[in-house]
Each structure stands twice: as structure tokens, then as C-alpha cells.
Amino acid sequence: MAVSRATLFDKVWDLHTVGTLASGQTQLFIGLHLIHEVTSPQAFAMLRERGLGVLYAERTVATVDHIVPTQSQQRPFTDTLAEQMICALEDNCAEFGIRFYNIGSGSQGIVHVIAPEQGFTQPGMTIACGDSHTATHGAFGAIAFGIGTSQVRDVLATQTLALDKLKVRRIEMNGGLRPGVFAKDVILHIIRKLGVKAGVGYAYEFAGTTFEAMNMEERMTVCNMAIEGGARCGYINPDAVTYTYLKDRDFAPQGADWERAVAWWENLRSDPDAQYDDTVHFDAAEIAPTVTWGITPGQGIAVDETVPRTEELPGEDRPLAEEAYRYMDLAPGVPIVGTKVDVCFIGSCTNGRLSDLREAAKLARGRHVALGVKAFVVPGSERVKQQAEAEGLHEVFLEAGFEWREPGCSMCLAMNPDRLEGRQLSASSSNRNFKGRQGSASGRTLLMSPAMVVAAAVSGAVTDVRALLEPTP
């Protein structure tokens, strides 16, 4: 028997291959489909137009996250358009028999938070969702990617997608993270070094002792932002950390099924001599708390660095840097530390999980949000909120002057009432710093870890979180 030299990606891809289409693309079976209110209504409308049904309704799970208000969630919503969208999702799920976690169910939340926390997301699955941050689920050793609305239609109607196979780049990082450095800094650093388009055509396999030492929520933060590096999916091979997280979750296999599943998952891991299309190496010790200064997630620097001068950048990056200086009103050569912030946001599918809130609360305890700064915390799901409250984290935040909100995507993309105004500058634990991303056409975003957001909130300016970690005399 030939010795297998396959990556996890190859194994999962082969297992789910239905066939080859006339175009040469693969018809790939999707084991788990996640839907939400923004990218699904038109897909259901297309099904109706074509007289099609949902082939495997039990393989689709729905929630509402993007448009939900995080203050009053009273129905009907004040925003009539948002109300129309949630109604459409309620109707579509009822009509096609799709499980829906609505507001108040106790299990609603950001789609990439609720699927893992309930155990829907498992190693070896193919997962699709009409949302680019579907890459998050790769943290479990699933192959998960974002799709558009017409592809949502295809998954609903056929449980399959027409896709070109991706290449695999192994991103190997070894060593421990220094104090004050978090999973968010790791992925911001990787994107800074590789760029925002290097991942196009690739799946990113994150491997090495740094990722092995991470808990599942940290792994999700890393995989979540693979797409910001251009990679449609990112993944980490499953291991004991994965299994411990999954065991006894609502939809995880039980009893003998569990044992069989673990045996299968163990065989899914990339073979030691697997062939990769590319490999890059990083040393975890070289990573500092990282913050973006520009208008793409690749425009990042260590917090103790200065905004890069054009002459320090490769030629092809210079026009975008010039555009970013103007938009961000940040001068080249100036330290990023001390940049005044107006709004501080902790939440999102990148950093809205319990461990993120714990880390943030640890720093917020005994401190207070600076005068003139608006700071708020949006838990990633109803379960995260409930657990955080059981631990008293909400009281820590409230005492420190943070607002404590209801779960949703909130100001990551500002489809709900949470948004920047005018040229406000936000310190944000989310994933995108694009122009206008946080709801104001001239609003500015600095991406950073939740701990760095707390440091900015209590100082009123971008601050090196490591200064707050030092024992107070």
C-alpha cells in the first residue's frame, strides 16, 4: 500500500468530492451549511423562482447576527429594513424546515461563534456560509469557506458547490508568545508579512508549536482572519485540544460514536511527509502586540513602531500607503502609540468569545475608560454573554466605564445602529479596517487584540498593553 503523503485539506476534499463537472471544477459536498439574514433571503427567492426545495434541510443551521441591535432587541426593530430581514429569515426557516436560533433562544449569536460552541463544527467537515469569515471553523480541522448568495442557493438546492481545488500553504510557527501578545497579534503579524493577497488560490494550514499551544478560541481567531490574507480557508490539524473542547457539546458525537469520530479525526491530520505547495516559517518570539495603521489588515506594525515611510515599503505597496496616510490622517514616521481614539469596540467573530472577554476584563479591572472615549463590549453569542455574566465580567466592564451589550456582529461592519460618526477613530478587536467599514464613510479603524483595545480605552490613545501588564508598585 502506498504511503499517504496527503494534507488534511487533500483528505477532506477527496472525501467530499461528488465528481468532476464539465468545466473541470470539482462538485464538492458540503457537510454543514450555516446561514444568516444578510446573504440568504435572495438565495431562498431564487429557489422559489426555480421551483426548487432544500435538499438536506437538516444540514443547514440558521441564526441572526449582522443586523441585530445590541441595545434594545425589542421586536419589531426600530430599523424597518432590519425587521424585514429577520422576518424573511424566520419565514424561510419555517417554510423549509431549517433549525433557527433566534434572538432570545439562548443560543443566538454570531454564526461563527454559535456553530463551534454548540459542537456543530467538527474536524473533517466541509462547511460553507455566506460570510467570508467562515474560515474560522478551520480551527477544528474542517475545510470551511465563505460563499456568495448564488452559491448559498446552490448549497440549499444541492448540498454541493462547484469549486476549483485550492493549493495548500503551510504556515509554520514555533515557540511561545511573549507577554501581551495574543492570537490576534499572531494573525495580524502573518498578514503584515505575507500581504493581503498572498493567500489567493490557497488554503492556509497553520502548523507548529505556537498553534499547538493555543486553545480553540485562539485558534479560531487565527483561522478567522485567513481571508484577510487572501486565503479563502485556513485550518489547524485537530488534536487533543480540539477533542477536549468538543467533547459533550450539544451536537458532538456521543458514546461509541465519539470514539469512532476521534479515531477518524486522528487519521485526518496532515501526514508528516505531506506535500505542500508552499511553506513559510515564523518565529513566535519575533511578534509584538500589533496594530494596523492603514486601510487594509496588511498595513500593520508592532505597537512600538512608527507608521512606515513610503521609502521603507516595497514599490507596489506605496500608492496604497499614500492613500492610507491621507484617509487615516496619520503621518509617516510618527509613532502609533499616543494616537487618540474616540471609540473602543470589543467583540466580533474574531474576538467576541469568552476567553477574549476574560482577557479584556482582567485588564479593565480597577481601571476606567478615559474621558471622552466611548467603549463597549458585545459578546459573540447569548451563551457567551450568559457565561460572562455568571463570572461577573459584565460588572468589571460596567465599573470600568464600558457599555455591556447584547450579542451580534455590531460595529465590526455596522449594519446595526452601532457605528462610527464622522472621522471618529476606533480601536477595534474586529477584523477589517477598510475605508468606511465601521459605518461612517470617513470613519477610521485600528485593528488590535481585545487587550490592546482595553489599553487604548483606559488611556484614550493607542497604548502598548505590555505597560499595563507590569506589576504596579
Binding site: 426548487l52 438546492a157 448540498q159 489567493v200 450539544d250 456521543q254 461592519l413
Partner: protein, 199 residues
């Protein structure tokens, strides 16, 4: 399903790289349950801020081939972005490179995205600047852009290329044709449907 082999018309140049889908269609316009009306909102914030955005230039009205830079359509998976471009009147895009989800969304709605070398994109920009009304053709069979005085080679991934030429870019029908094979794979997976287990 219609075959897409060639797009003729006029070009609209959009300089810059890494133009994300939030810029193509800001999130507030995603508060909708149909794609109707998105055409007017395409590049809404960029247009308001610039005051002289190419999409507002009188001489580019009616143009149908968009010329872009690198990594066009990065960021969010929102199909609203290609839908907004299509509803504004864009029928094809020629650029240095595309983000992957955006490219797939364009294929799914019959909007071909061809890739050209940076110097050829520059050549297009120069030609359009000299004559904004210059006629051009994106020929998918020959894989070239034709201008009155020149021809520029373009590329497209083989799968998408075949789908446009065969008229199978709307994949649903083809996928459904494999129903028996779909059921076989579903039955063979080492994991059941998620809701079959647990609570």
C-alpha cells in the same frame, strides 16, 4: 442559460488596488431582501467623497467593461458587490487580479473577470484617458481585449472560462444533475447530518 463569449462596449477605468467589497457596496445597503436598486448605490461613499469618481463621469455613462487593479473585490463575501456592479451596467471586468470569493460570485451571476498583466492594464488606462469613448471587446474565446489599434492577451482560470463559453456559469442545474452521486457521498460520510445527533 446563456453562453458568454464576447463583451463589446466601452470601458470605465477604476485606478487603485485592494478595492474591497465594503467600498463597492457599503454595508448599510445590504439591509435588503432583494438585489433590486443596488446599482445606484455602487461605490456610494467613494463617489460622494471624491466628487469626480469615474462612475459619475458623464463620458463613462453607459460603459460596460470595468478596468481594475490588483486584488479587486477583497474582503466580505457579499454577492451584493458584483450584483451592484452588474445592475449599474457592468458586463465584464478586466484587472490585474481578483479576490477569490468575489471572482466566484461574479462567475455565478455571469459576470466574467479577466486577468491582464499590469503593463496591459496600464495600456488600457492610457487608451481610455486619450479617448474615453474608445470601443473595446473582451473576447473570451480568443482570450484577448481588442482595441482599434491593439490586442492585449488576458487570462481566466480554466473552469470559469469553460463555464462562460458553455453557458453553464449558473451551476445549480449541473450540480443537481449529480443527485444520485450526491446522495451516495452523503450516505458514505463518516459523520451524519449535524442535527441527527445530540439535542
Amino acid at each position: 442559460m446563456s453562453r458568454i463569449a464576447s463583451i463589446e462596449g466601452r470601458a470605465i477605468p477604476l485606478p487603485g488596488h485592494d478595492i474591497d467589497t465594503d467600498r463597492i457596496i457599503p454595508a448599510r445597503f445590504l439591509r435588503c431582501v432583494t438585489f433590486d436598486g443596488l446599482g445606484e448605490a455602487v461605490f456610494a461613499d467613494d463617489r460622494r467623497q471624491s466628487g469626480q469618481h469615474p462612475f459619475d463621469a458623464p463620458h463613462h455613462q453607459g460603459a460596460n467593461i470595468l478596468v481594475v487593479g490588483r486584488n479587486f473585490g477583497c474582503g466580505s463575501s457579499r454577492e451584493h458587490a458584483p450584483q451592484a456592479l452588474a445592475k449599474w451596467g457592468i458586463r465584464a471586468i478586466v484587472g490585474e487580479s481578483y479576490a477569490e470569493i468575489f471572482f466566484g460570485n461574479c462567475v455565478a451571476i455571469g459576470l466574467p473577470c479577466a486577468t491582464a498583466r499590469p503593463e496591459h492594464i496600464q495600456h488600457l488606462h492610457t487608451a481610455i484617458a486619450e479617448d474615453p469613448q474608445i470601443p473595446l471587446t473582451l473576447d473570451l474565446e480568443a482570450l484577448e481585449v481588442r482595441l482599434p489599434q491593439s490586442r492585449l492577451p488576458v487570462e481566466m482560470p480554466a473552469g470559469a472560462h469553460r463555464m462562460f463559453l458553455a453557458g453553464t456559469w449558473d451551476a445549480t442545474g449541473q450540480l443537481l444533475a449529480g443527485l444520485a452521486a450526491i446522495r451516495e457521498i452523503a450516505g458514505r460520510l463518516p459523520y451524519g447530518s449535524p442535527l441527527a445527533k445530540g439535542g
